[in-house]
Symmetry: C2
Subunit: 336 residues, 2 copies
């Protein structure tokens, strides 16, 4: 296990301690040491954006806390859902009385813990609504979308929800825009190597040299098949052939595209994949409005990549163009 | 070789094609397909900032092209210096008549090719000056600093030079500030695994499981020793014990710190290293003014990290606080 760690049971605590120090101009601690908030949260007059999930997906989840993005985050153990108390504390840290939007991914533990947190929050009169990301196409067949996992599309959900809330929208409006973002988003991952949770000490799954796992999940959940490694252009085709027809994305559509590494894939390979995906989109008459390439949602040092496409309308474009400042996504107002 | 590539001989071309598409709101092509420029370059009234180097270090070098950063970059083959013509073309693409600052790293090929480019540029009456980064402490002993390589400290050199030029400084002022940035900067790397150049097909060096290479270079250049893998706190101590006394950084100093991954090391481990370094700095009375943690200067999928410290004065602080917009470094004006 070639890792820079100290005590394997303390990696998340040490990481968060460092994160608070390194980015003190952006984030603040809360009374719950596993809950990090935007330094200016709660922000009066603004709907609060809250998320949470297992650690090990950096910059997700904590990396999206910031200005016009997420107000507070619950940081679970590596690849484990944060308990209900953490989601509750995150909502409390962010709530400014205008309602709380919890925007998170579709995993059994997160669903259960968010539901428990909401019960408590509502008992205190805090208005909470949720959007549950389920953008990972290979994780369940069409018609069973509510079984699909949330993956890198969550980044677009936070970007849209964060922007909408910052524009002064109501809780219902923030939820509607975030839900539309996810409804319009489809993702798919391909894995080239596994990763190791320090407390386990060895990888929980294998991908043999010369093979790749199509549809792999962000915690090494098995994909739909293991096939021989192919050139990037073929991998891009496989991804597009799953992602594009599922929505479907059609000729004339404008999309946001995110090619995210899973951890150890060099940027150069992500750009090569992007290049091949872009060509396929062009052939299909789908135009790219805004592009993201890099490590936006990872799985420790897993090698591989995810493709995420979001179909845009004017409201989603306005949200994607909106200025934001977080470690994981920082952009100036776009004026194209 | 678990990689998303097509033709191994075309990875840089495909990457640059994708980069231009993905970031068309920031960068533009030039007549030389291996030279990328900031879309608004040349900028009248501003000293041009130019750099270049081998590819495979993303976001270096192309990722630092942008607003208030680098104006044009020469992109060599993987781990290979760009030829003189490319440096020449980059300087021509960026020059607005106020002089060109070529800020690059101390490698034999780059030194030779930059010198040849300058001869031609000066023949045309273009004023060119250089700063040669040599921040990598383990690459040569004290007293032989001019033999040291440039590593992640180059990022601070570009940040300072880019800001200074954007503030309207003269070529001499830009060069003086960039040289001061490098004079005040020390770095050191530790490698945990090798990387593979696609055209070679296998790694050029090995790091056995359970070992780490102290002082490794950005192209796998041998370090000063190979030792048993240690806890992050010990690795941080080793780094600090090399970097801090070399300048030396002393009690009362304020520093910028950069913990960069070499490619495949998860952010969580970089933050853990940062945490341990920060504690050592605190014990020594050295305070951190601004922090960067992430993949700022990589070596394909090498596992490992570099520590970079830069001692600050008022001028360097003003430059580090300055707003900039590039893929590799994007920050809002700091008002602390």
């Amino acid at each position: 296990m070639q890792k820079f760690i100290n005590d394997p049971s303390k990696v998340v605590d040490e990481m968060l301690e460092a994160y608070l120090e390194a980015h003190s101009d952006l984030v603040s601690p809360t009374e719950n040491e596993r809950v990090i908030k935007y330094k200016n949260a709660p922000i009066q007059g603004k709907v609060a954006i809250v998320t949470g999930g297992g650690s090990g997906h950096k910059p997700a989840f904590v990396g999206y806390v910031g200005r016009n993005m997420v107000d507070a985050v619950a940081c679970g153990k590596l690849f484990s859902s944060p308990p209900a108390q953490m989601f509750y504390d995150a909502a409390k840290a962010a709530d400014a009385g205008k309602g709380v939007a919890i925007l998170y991914g579709n995993y059994a533990g997160d669903n259960m813990n968010v539901a428990m947190a909401i019960e408590e929050l509502e008992d205190e009169g805090i208005q909470v609504k949720t959007v549950v990301a389920n953008d990972d196409v290979p994780s369940a067949p069409k018609g069973e979308e509510d079984r699909r996992r949330g993956v890198a599309g969550e980044v677009f959900m936070w970007k849209v929800g964060g922007a909408k809330a910052a524009m002064g929208a109501s809780l219902d409006e923030v939820i509607a825009a975030s839900q539309k973002a996810i409804n319009n988003t489809r993702s798919m991952g391909v894995g080239l190597s596994p990763c190791t949770i320090p407390e386990v000490g060895h990888s929980n799954f294998k991908i043999p040299e010369g093979k790749m796992e199509i549809g792999i999940g962000h915690h090494g959940e098995p994909g739909i098949e293991v096939v021989d490694l192919e050139p990037a252009a073929k991998v891009a085709e496989r991804m597009c052939h799953v992602v594009i027809p599922d929505l479907p994305f059609e000729s004339g559509d404008e999309v946001a595209i995110l090619v995210s590494g899973l951890g150890s894939t060099p940027a150069i390979e992500l750009y090569i994949l992007f290049n091949d995906v872009k060509r396929i989109l062009k052939e299909k008459g789908i135009s790219v409005y805004i592009s993201y390439v890099g490590n936006y949602f990872t799985s420790l040092e897993m090698s591989g990549a995810t493709l995420t496409l979001m179909k845009l309308d004017d409201e989603l474009k306005e949200c994607m163009d909106f200025e934001c400042d977080s470690v994981g996504m920082r952009q100036f107002q776009r004026t194209t």
